[in-house]
Amino acid sequence: MPDPQPDPFDALRSPIIPLAPDAAFAADLRDRLVRAVPTPTLREPPMTTETTNRPRNGVRSGDVSYITLGLPDLTRGRAFYGAVLGWRFSPGNSEHGAQVDDIVPMMGLWGGEQPTGGRVHGAVLGFRVDDISAAVAAVRAHGGTINDPHREVYAMAAEGHDDQGIPFYLHEMPSAARDTVSGDAGFHNGEVEGDVSYLTMVVPDLDAARAFYGGVFDWTFNIGRPGGAQVTGVAPQIGMTTQPETGPATPGVIVCYRVDDIAAAVHRVRDEGGQASEVAQRPYGLESLCTDDQGTPFYLHQF
C-alpha cells in the first residue's frame, strides 16, 4: 500500500449550519439568561440619554418621557418590530420587558402586568413633570385616579388613569435649566427611521380629554376638524380624536413611526404577518395604517 490514501473519514467534515430552535424554547432560554446575566440596565437607570445626545425623555414638563407598548407576546413583538422598524433591544428591568435601543422618545415593549394591575394591549404614555406631587394632586383634582409617587431606579414615578380610563404614567424629571430650553425641541416627528413620528390619542369624549390634559399638563390645543384636536408644543406631536379618519376608535394611544421608505416598510409589515393599508398621501407626508402580527394598530409615516 504505497499510495497515500485520502482519509475517507474526511468526508464527515461538517461546517456549522445555523438552525433555529423551537421559538418557545428560544424565548424560555432568553428569559433564563436575562435572569442569569447581570446587565448594564439593571445597574444603571434606564432613562438616561444615550451617546446620540438626543433628548430621549422629552425636555419640558408635559412631554412624553417614555412609551410602553403592551403586547400579548413579548418575543413575537421583538421579532416583528425588529424586522419592520430595525429596532434593536436591550433587556429591561424585568424579564417581561425589552428596551428599544436608540429611538426617540424612549420606548419599551412589555409583556406583563401593568403597575396598577391588568394587562394593556397597546401603548401607554409616560409624561415628564417638574413636580410629581403637584402633578398627582392635579390628576386627582381633574377626576383621574393615580397611585402615590414612589421611587423607581430611573425617577420618581406614579401610574394612573385619566378620567376616561386611559392609563398613563408620570415621571418626575425637573428641567435642568428651564430657561435654556428652546421652544422647539426639534424631535417632534422623529429624526430617524424607527423614531416615533406622532401619537394619536383616541378618546371617547374630546372636551373631557382637553379639560383633563389641559388641566394636568397645561397643554393647549389647536382645534382642527370636528372631533379632533392637536396638542400644541409637545414632543412628540400628539393629536386627540374621538374617531381617527382611518383606524380603530378603541380608546387608547396609537403610535406612529417614521420610516425612510414606506413602500419597503409596508412590504416588511406584510412579510412579518402584519397588515398594512395602501400608502396614502397626506398633507404631512405618506401614511399607512398597519397592524402588527398580534393585532396592535400603528401608523407608518414617511415625511
Binding site: F9, L12, I16, L29, V34, A36, V37, S90
Partner: protein, 174 residues
C-alpha cells in the same frame, strides 16, 4: 439578512457585545452545531441551554463570541457522551480490543449513511470521531476536548474508526 450570510464564527465581535446582545445571532449557530452532532432535539435543546447558562456564569471582561460559545457547546457535548458512556458501561463491559493498528480503508463514505452510523456507535467513539472529523480538530485538540492524553486519544480513534467501519459495512450488507 446579509449579516446571517457571513461566517459569524470567524468574525471578531464588537467590544460592547454581551451574551444577551449576541443571543439572537449565536443561538442558531450553537443549536445548529449541537443538533447536527447529537441528532436529538431534546438533547440539543438541553445542551444549548447548558451552553448559554454556563457562558453566563463566566465572569470575564472579554466579550463573548460565537466561536467561543461553540467551544463551550463542544465541551457540553463531550460531557454528555461521557455520561452516556458511563451509563452504558454499567450495563455491559466495553469489549476490549487488543489490536492497535489501522487497516487502510478505501471507500467513499456516503454522508447520510455515515452520520446514521455515528449515532449507533459507543458514545466515546462517537465523541472522538465527531471532534476529529466533523469538527476537524487535530488529534491534540481532540485530546484536550476529550480530557485524555494524545496517545490515548490516538488509540481511541483507532478503535472508533474500526467500530465505525464494522457498523458501516455490516449495515451496508444487511
Amino acid at each position: 439578512m446579509s449579516d446571517d450570510d457571513r461566517d459569524v464564527t470567524a468574525l471578531p465581535d464588537r467590544p460592547d457585545v454581551t451574551l444577551l446582545t449576541l443571543y439572537d445571532r449565536a443561538l442558531p449557530q450553537v443549536y445548529g452545531y449541537l443538533m447536527a452532532r447529537c441528532g436529538d432535539r431534546a438533547v440539543a435543546e438541553d445542551l444549548t441551554a447548558e451552553t448559554f447558562l454556563a457562558a453566563a456564569a463566566v465572569r470575564t471582561n472579554v466579550p463573548p463570541t460565537v466561536g467561543w460559545l461553540i467551544g463551550v457547546a463542544r465541551h457540553k457535548l463531550v460531557d454528555h457522551w461521557r455520561w452516556q458512556a458511563r451509563q452504558e458501561r454499567l450495563l455491559h463491559a466495553v469489549e476490549g480490543s487488543s489490536s492497535s493498528s489501522d487497516d487502510p480503508w478505501d471507500v467513499e463514505l456516503d454522508r447520510l449513511h455515515a452520520h446514521d452510523v455515528l449515532t449507533r456507535l459507543a458514545p466515546q467513539h462517537r465523541a472522538a470521531l465527531t471532534l476529529r472529523y466533523l469538527d476537524g480538530l487535530s488529534v491534540p485538540e481532540s485530546a484536550t476536548a476529550l480530557g485524555r492524553g494524545v496517545a490515548a486519544t490516538e488509540a481511541l480513534l483507532v478503535r472508533a474508526r474500526r467500530e465505525f467501519r464494522h457498523v458501516y459495512e455490516g449495515s451496508n450488507d444487511a
